[in-house]
Amino acid sequence: MIDYLALAPEIIIAATAVVVLLADLWLVRKYWTAIIAVVGTTAAAIPLIVMAVSPVGDRVLFDGSYVVDPFALVMKGVFLMAGYVVLLMSFSYVESDRYYEGEYYFLLLVSILGSLVLGSARDLIGLFIGIELVASPMYVLAGFRKGDLKSNEAALKYYLLGVLASALLLYGSSFVFGLTGALTFDGIASAAGGLVHEPAFVMAVLFILAGIGFKVSAVPFHFWAPDTYEGAPTPITAYLSVSSKAAGFVALLAVVYRAFGPASATWAPVVWVMAALSMTIANLAALKQDNIVRMLAYSSISHAGFMLVPFVVAPYVGVEGLGNAVAATVTYLVIYAFMNLGAFALVIAGSRKSGSGTVDGWAGMATYAPGLAFLGAVFFFGLAGIPPLAGWFAKFVMFRAVLTAGSGWAVGLAVIAALNSVVAIYYYARVVKAMWMDPVPATVPGIEVREAAVPVPLALALGITAAIVLVVGAVPGLVTFFSDATKVLAGGG
């Protein structure tokens, strides 16, 4: 018998998506589709809360292929909240141009559904379905600004490279299934220990890592990200850089800690290289960007590198250290999610007022939009990891996790991460500097545009994310309460 409560969030989101699509046929005022989407997303959170407080432990469905454990609950909560903020950001953005609103929200909801599936997927098929469900609607949404060549380019690049990544992932999965005879992660794990010297298995692991590497946009699989981020509608870019990336990380966490746990000596060095390259190359590239969205694209690549850092300790530590590594990546992911969503919401608001998406175009924003300039300091210095903003704690737990292993490799990566967090300050500070310290450029639009009120939903998105960044910075326990629960993924729970 199926535990429908465990599937309730997915069912609600799927139903909402269908309702949105049907309602779009009859509704005249299309913004109702957005309201339906928001209501559905909110409703989906209710069963999550019910499960979180219920005394029943892990809910295991379909012979262990689909598990709702604390890790799944926390990640689903993050996906719903991130989806919620993206919906808020979308309202005025989608209204402002001739978009197909119903389809827009339908596709977004389908992608959110995929991320919920990923949170619970504990076998290779569920994993693949989840990843595809997250990505496929995004191929369309990235190209939603139909008249804009850059948007077309964004969609095409994302699609071609995304399909390649999926192929790699599937190909690797087929080898794993062939070698281990299992699809569930636990089944693979029990066979993986004996296969670490099998070349085909090593190759399969590498293929799967590469496939997911595309999804999280880690170097050297990041080439699609800057162009896609720049061309896609900004709320979709926010979604790609947060939810889609988080979905990739959830997949990565589940696969490497669960399925390939015994083979950690095989994948950890690969992740080491990916982490070091992502942090360094993306940071150096970000230094030169004038377009804020492109800068944020490179910044999100470098953050992917920081999130990969804790993985490398896996071969050296016991269950506790593995748990810390999982919790560190999750903590980083959660804090990063809100800082980055906030930053993109700010990009939407700031671009409206200043009529520009470049660093120079934002100059002097503090004189005509002090509130946005303040939020700029909050989000960009938050991303840089400066106390008292939440980003410091993300960096802190990342360092803490990687130093668990006393090995020289781990310490070396920590030093690379430390140097990179210093480099990063330069490009984040550059935006804040422009907003606060530079004179207003001549290109700035008239007073009725630059002093127009920020639309309410967008202001709400900014407010929610800023509040989280400020409060979590002072009371990080609010995040660790959840991220500590995700340690179960690494076993021992």
Binding site: A377, V397, F399, T404, V411, V415, K433, W436, M437, D484
Partner: protein, 529 residues
């Protein structure tokens, strides 16, 4: 008063300023009176509380942490809200509260351009919380957060209200406004150091788990000091950890050759920014050495001490020579900080009771004197619209009171006996004649000789500055200017500093009375007497 002694008093001192900043952010932008009164209130209250502490502090047990509390903060990493003050941090905390208040009072009549009192006042207050917090934190994570919290307000202070003249960016073929260059340089340098400091803290945290009976790891500074004094942190591990902490603290002090951010930042900052930067922020670094590096890693401190002494002495001589080459008055004062902090670090490197006492009183004196020097230099630049000493000659004639205060402060700065600056320099030289057991006498006595030469050079450049600025015949340029001598806000801010400079100079027990017990205990515990 139990509530006061059990953490509330100290917590209020730390958090009142930032609460004031929030209140000011809610105040209407136009209402200058409200902004001023909130600023005054939320910095005066900590001074009053600190005064109560002066009365209630148990000087007989200066080495124990008082007025503290220890509460859960981030349970999952065992970081705690552990605060408290002992004889070493106490004078620095008092200095910090007083200087913040005086900065606020001075600002009332000296809003820097671009005029934005609300934001400027809020930043001073945030800075106040960060500085006070660093001196009371007894948990490495808490210390780190406060230590880093100074970055944002100071970055904005320099970047928005700083010096707008153009300068050539070293190493690039471009020009930039001084404030922008100085602000980001300050930020990047400090962040570079503190990133490594954080790695060092985490390394200590992990190693602590190996030694504690419970097996739980800790960021607790007193606990780590206990472990450290048992000599448990040793070998390459300890060497690297000390190096990581050294980077964090030495950038902040700053020690040569990591000092290059200082002249730029101090010169570019608005007056109040320079005062707080020189008066308090630099001490966060040297305080870190005394509070964290020395007692937790005593063997490594012993191993690193000669290197620190040599760098300190290079800083003294280099700072003095650089001063002799300056034409800009504010830049001269900035470079003099490199030299004075060199004496502080020389005192610390001796690892003796005399040396560390010298360091603490040196920090307090430098905070008072250089703070006042920057105040005066700022006020003069405000009136003359130039800081070029060549143009300022005859200041004494034009503004007699301003000139007198400048002379007084400059003479205090060169270490005249009877004024506060004397004790730190003199005792750190005494300390380096006879450093801790096992340290190379040759190195330290050579350091002493060069340090002594440094005091002569210091006297030289300070007197030369006075000669160029105060003496001589005023340039005809100023005939058409209505130069107003010191105003009431300036005197209100400056007289307390002058009184304290004399008081500490004549009666150094004001500081030693608190520090000595704590320093003796620290040295005994870490270095066996």
């Amino acid at each position: 008063m139990a509530w006061f002694d059990n953490g509330w008093g100290l917590s209020l001192i730390v958090f009142l300023p930032i609460a004031g900043a929030l209140v000011i952010l809610l105040a209407p932008k136009k209402n200058l009176t409200a902004i001023k009164s909130f600023g005054l209130m939320f910095t005066a209250l900590p001074v009053l509380l600190a005064a109560v502490m002066i009365a209630r502090f148990d000087y007989g047990h200066a080495s124990t942490f008082q007025f503290g509390t220890n509460l859960s903060w981030i349970a999952s990493i065992n970081a705690r809200y552990h605060i408290g003050i002992d004889g070493i941090s106490f004078p620095l905390l008092v200095l910090s509260t007083v200087l913040t208040l005086l900065a606020v009072i001075y600002t009332f009549n000296h809003w820097p351009e671009p005029y934005n009192p609300k934001a400027f006042m809020a930043l001073i207050l945030v800075l106040g919380t960060a500085m006070n917090g660093t001196f009371v934190a007894l948990d490495l994570v808490l210390f780190f957060v406060f230590f880093e919290l100074v970055l944002l307000p100071m970055y904005f202070m320099i970047g928005i209200w700083g010096d707008k003249t153009m300068m050539k960016v070293p190493g690039f073929k471009i020009e930039a406004e001084t404030r922008l260059y100085a602000a980001i340089k300050f930020f990047v340098f400090t962040l570079f150091g503190s990133a490594f400091m954080l790695l060092g803290f985490l390394a200590l945290y992990y190693r602590s788990g190996d030694f504690l009976a419970s097996g739980a790891r800790t960021f607790d500074i007193p606990t780590l000091i206990d472990l450290g004094s048992q000599g448990l942190f040793t070998g390459t591990f300890a060497f690297l950890v000390f190096g990581a902490l050294f980077l964090g603290f030495a950038v902040k002090v700053p020690m040569w050759p990591l000092h290059t951010w200082l002249p730029d930042a101090h010169t570019a900052a608005p007056t109040v920014g320079s005062v707080l930067l020189a008066g308090i922020l630099l001490k966060l670094g040297s305080y870190g050495f005394i509070r964290i590096s020395l007692p937790i890693l005593p063997q490594e401190a012993h191993r690193w001490a000669p290197a620190i002494a040599i760098l300190a002495v290079i800083g003294i001589i280099y700072g003095a020579l650089a001063c002799l080459a300056q034409t800009d008055m504010k830049r001269l004062i900035a470079f003099s900080s490199v030299g004075h902090m060199g004496f502080v670090m020389l005192g610390i490197s001796t690892l003796t009771v005399v040396g560390i006492n010298a360091a603490v009183i040196g920090m307090v004196a430098h905070g008072l004197i250089t703070g006042l020097l920057f105040f005066v230099a700022g006020s003069m630049a405000h009136r003359y619209h130039t800081r070029e000493m060549a143009k300022l000659g005859g200041n004494q004639t034009l503004m007699p009171k301003m000139g007198a205060i400048l002379s007084f402060t400059a003479i205090a700065s060169l270490g005249l006996p009877g004024l506060a600056g004397f004790w730190g320099e003199f005792m750190s030289l005494v300390g380096s004649y006879n450093p801790a057991f096992g340290l190379d006498l040759g190195v330290f006595r050579t350091a002493m000789v060069f340090g002594a030469i440094g005091t002569v050079l210091t006297a030289g450049y300070m007197l030369w500055m006075l000669q160029r600025v105060n003496l001589g015949v005023p340039s005809a340029e100023w005939d058409s200017h209505a130069l107003i001598d010191t105003d009431v806000y300036e005197l209100t801010a400056w007289v307390p500093l002058m009184v304290l400079i004399v008081a500490v100079g004549v009666f150094p027990k004001l500081v030693f009375g608190a520090t000595n017990g704590a320093v003796v205990a620290l040295v005994a515990k870490a270095f066996g007497g």
